[in-house]
């Protein structure tokens, strides 16, 4: 069985479209997206009377004079992983001043965007003929869980064991604590307990796949720039340190699944053999509109990864 795994597309619509096309492009049987589906930024587009809009994209201010220009800029914003938010000047002022208003708008934009994405998926994945598994990541709001659960063509993997043609896939979007205090974070002991809950459902570890958002600690899959107290990279950003999860590492070493796929640390694209387990973080460069991923060829008889290729699609 061939699987395409990607992760951390963070709202990039171009990456989502590529993800949906990956099954046909790489001729795989199944696609898996490992979490952090939602974006981090929202760009207000201020509508003025008379069909004129103002927006600032990557520091450059634009005045848009036609619907066509508006659609083009929205596309650019979505492709970069941000949400275009249509607002009036008064709404923008209100949002800036009212506590919680930006959060609420963020949630609306994220959920609406995900709805639209899942509609796209229906057509591309032949109404569910091609298995597609989605998972939350630590940066994803809770509201996305129900939306994905209700999708007819996408399976929500969080906390479940999914049987895929003889392989058992278990997923978890939680990570060890980060300096940003995001949604799905837990201290290592709690994380270990969550892992055990999901891993205990696996009938045959030889054919198990761990899909854990957090990479295993100290394996090269989890190298991020060392930061100071003000979240500034130290030593010119050239100094990296492992920031993965010890609970994930211990679980892999203890249970030895055939494959363990991870994300979370975008810049730590790497592959590591941990005993019999092949651990992979394909990394993410969603901001460039490039979908990094891993094409994995699984051998069901031997219960191992026959071959893999990290791709920049």
């Amino acid at each position: 069985m061939k699987v395409f795994f990607a992760t951390d597309i963070h709202g990039s619509e171009v990456c989502w479209r590529k993800f949906l096309n990956a099954a046909a492009f790489y001729k795989v049987d199944m696609v898996v997206l490992g979490g952090d589906v939602t974006g981090k930024a929202m760009v207000p587009i201020v509508a003025h009377p008379g069909g004129r809009w103002q927006v600032t994209v990557r520091g450059q201010a634009y005045t848009l004079e036609s619907e066509q220009e508006l659609e083009e800029i929205k596309k650019q914003i979505r492709n970069a992983g941000s949400y275009p938010a249509m607002v009036s000047p008064d709404e923008l002022q209100e949002m800036s001043k009212t506590e919680g208003a930006v959060d609420r708008r963020f949630t609306v934009e994220m959920t609406q965007s995900l709805d639209r994405w899942l509609d796209m998926a229906d057509g591309k994945l032949r109404g569910g003929d091609i298995p597609c598994i989605l998972n939350g990541g630590n940066d994803d709001i809770w509201e996305i869980d129900d939306i994905i659960e209700q999708s007819p063509c996408v399976s929500f993997g969080e906390g479940k064991m999914l049987d895929l043609d003889g392989f058992s896939l278990v997923s978890m979007g939680w990570t060890n604590p980060t300096p940003w205090d995001t949604f799905r974070e837990a201290p290592e002991p709690e994380l270990a307990a969550k892992i055990e809950t999901v891993v205990s459902q696996i009938p045959d570890m030889e054919r198990a796949i761990f899909n854990f958002h957090a990479p295993p600690y100290g394996t090269g899959l989890d190298e991020a720039p060392a930061l100071d107290g003000n979240l500034r990279p130290m030593h010119g950003g050239a100094v990296m340190k492992p920031v993965g999860s010890t609970a994930v590492r211990d679980a892999i070493l203890q249970h030895q699944p055939m494959l363990s796929v991870h994300g979370h640390i975008h810049e730590s694209r790497a592959v590591k053999k941990m005993g019999r387990t092949l651990a992979i973080n394909p990394g993410s460069v969603y901001g460039d509109g490039v979908l990094q991923g891993a094409v994995l060829d699984l051998n069901p008889k031997k219960g191992k990864v026959a071959k893999y290729l990290l791709v920049n699609g």
Binding site: S96, G236, D297
Partner: protein, 542 residues
């Protein structure tokens, strides 16, 4: 969820609290890295021994400034690449993504991996002539046989190169965290050492230098009236120098390819930028490399002016010409800072000055293999190299196999370099091969807007314009001009010692090796059912 509004009273962007949203990094550290890479002490002064005598009509200061201006465009071109595709692996990643996997691999393997084997003995030789030789001479040590001069012998060069290779390997093994701290202190110490030299040369007269030089030369080397004797020896060898000035321009331009030996490397940290969050900040990336480059240019000009003022320009060039003709005045490389130290008649001071100035070497030596290991990693992740090449030992965090791929061939080449005086003259091969790699990155940045229009439009580099013209591709064209000019001169003018038959064979063999490696990788991977051609193929969007 916590959010942050950007843009003041009328926000233009809202950011929610999410992993990876960090503030910009300190430009200071990037400046230090660029400044140490374009190391005017270890590389610049070392190169002047060759450049001055080879092109006596050329003007050093003019050449350094022209080079600085020209290389500034390379800095813009590289800053453009860095912010457009901010990835660890630098040239390898950019070229494989923009020009194609095969070409990218060959250029990166030759320029960031194979040729570094030759840099190892060059680094070793620099350690010999800037630390061991002056230290031994100052202390009057006679062990091993020949004392200071032993370090210039075949065995001496080989042993010191081995020390250098081990040292570079250890520094890489320590990891960037420890090395960055070492670099910072070395940079500060090295600058203090240079400041002492500046003070000595600024506040002492020419006459004072001549008498000090004669006194110390007699004390350490037993040479009488050494200043005059140096000038006489150079004249006898047929060398005539020009005074320090600014023209003629044509002859000074011929010095530019030689100046690339040290000024071409402000982007040496480029393979590391990929790991920096916020690298898509053109100004930061540019400022770091540009400032590092121009600190080097300014320090070089200060050094050259002080040599002219206190040491005497003609004398300095005569010293260099004697070394260039393999008849160094004292049997060792003429280290200008050792002579500056002679202005203080105190052995302890002279030794300390040499040691402090050697920090320029120790802060720099880690650069020998560090960037190369990143390129090897990137190629291994792309399955062009075996997976093991990217392995890092869990216990010690040492990239063992990539280090072996660097160290073992470097040891072999160190032996060839040490025991073949002819091979030693191919020093500029080390610059040429990297310049070819840079040339292809410059081509990549020029064609980027056409090859990857979406990527280009999304890049902050596309918005850096002068009179409406995007300056990054234009800088790429100017960089191609610089590198094309240098390559033409290196390959057509025998004064650079690059275009001899054996030198060309040596360089050609590296390209052949890289091509063979790539072909073998493709064949082996195809047999394994892995299509390397798929790595960079873009998935259709619609």
């Amino acid at each position: 969820m916590a959010t942050e509004a950007v843009g003041g009273e009328t926000p233009t962007l809202f950011l929610r609290k999410a992993t990876g949203l960090v503030r910009g990094w300190s430009v200071r550290d990037t400046i230090i890295y660029a400044c140490l890479a374009t190391n005017f002490v270890t590389l610049g002064i070392y190169e002047f021994t060759f450049a001055g005598p080879a092109f006596p009509k050329g003007q050093m200061i003019t050449a350094v400034i022209i080079s600085g201006i020209w290389v500034s465009f390379l800095v813009i071109a590289y800053a453009g690449l860095i912010v457009t595709i901010p990835r660890a692996g630098g040239d390898y990643v950019w070229q494989t993504r923009i020009l194609g996997s095969g070409l990218g691999f060959v250029m990166a393997a030759t320029g960031w991996w194979f040729i570094l084997w030759l840099w190892a003995p060059i680094y070793g030789n620099i350690l010999s002539v800037q630390l061991f030789e002056p230290l031994w001479a100052t202390l009057g040590w006679t062990w091993p046989g020949g004392g200071a001069a032993w370090f210039g012998t075949n065995n001496g060069i080989f042993v010191v190169t081995l020390i250098t290779i081990v040292l570079a390997g250890i520094l890489v093994s320590l990891g960037m965290s420890s090395y960055a701290r070492i670099q910072k202190w070395c940079f500060i110490g090295g600058m203090i050492g240079f400041a002492v030299v500046v003070v000595l040369l600024l506040f002492n007269s020419h006459a004072s230098f001549v008498s000090s030089f004669n006194l110390e030369a007699h004390k350490l080397f037993g040479v009488n009236n050494a200043y005059h004797a140096t000038n006489v020896a150079a004249a006898k060898a047929g060398y005539t120098t020009s005074g320090l000035g600014f023209g003629p321009l044509g002859a000074s331009f011929l010095l530019v390819p030689a100046m690339m030996f040290f000024l071409l490397w402000p982007n040496w940290g480029a393979t590391l930028y990929g790991e920096i969050r916020g690298a898509s900040d053109f100004r930061r990336v540019f400022t770091g490399m540009f400032t590092g480059l121009w600190i080097t240019v300014i320090l070089t000009v200060i050094f050259l002016l002080l040599m002219a003022k206190t040491v005497g320009w003609g004398f300095y060039q005569n010293l260099n010409s004697l070394d260039y003709n393999l008849t160094p005045q004292f049997g060792i490389w003429p280290y200008p800072f050792m002579f500056a130290g002679w202005l203080v008649h105190n052995t302890a001071f002279q030794v300390i000055l040499i040691l402090v100035l050697s920090l320029w070497f120790f802060g720099w030596v880690g650069t020998l293999f560090l960037s190369s290991t990143r390129v090897i990693f990137a190629a291994a992740f792309d399955r062009v190299l075996p997976d093991r090449a990217a392995e890092v030992s869990e216990k010690r965090k040492v990239p063992l196999y990539s280090l072996i791929l660097m160290l073992l061939p470097a040891v072999g080449l160190a032996a060839v370099y040490a025991y073949s005086a002819t091979f030693r003259t191919y020093t500029l091969d080390a610059t040429l091969v990297i310049a070819v790699t840079y040339l292809f990155s410059a081509i990549a940045v020029v064609i980027l807007p056409w090859r990857k229009p979406e990527l280009w439009r999304a890049s902050p580099a596309s918005r850096i314009k002068v009179f409406g013209v995007p300056i990054v591709p234009v800088s790429g064209v100017i960089t191609i001009g610089l590198l094309g000019f240098c390559l033409y001169e290196w390959l057509s003018n025998s004064l650079y010692f690059v275009n001899s038959r054996d030198s060309l064979y040596f360089m050609g063999a590296m390209y052949v090796l890289a091509v063979i490696l790539f072909i073998v990788a493709r064949v082996v991977r195809r047999r394994q059912g892995i299509d390397l051609g798929m790595i960079n193929k873009e998935i259709p969007v619609e």
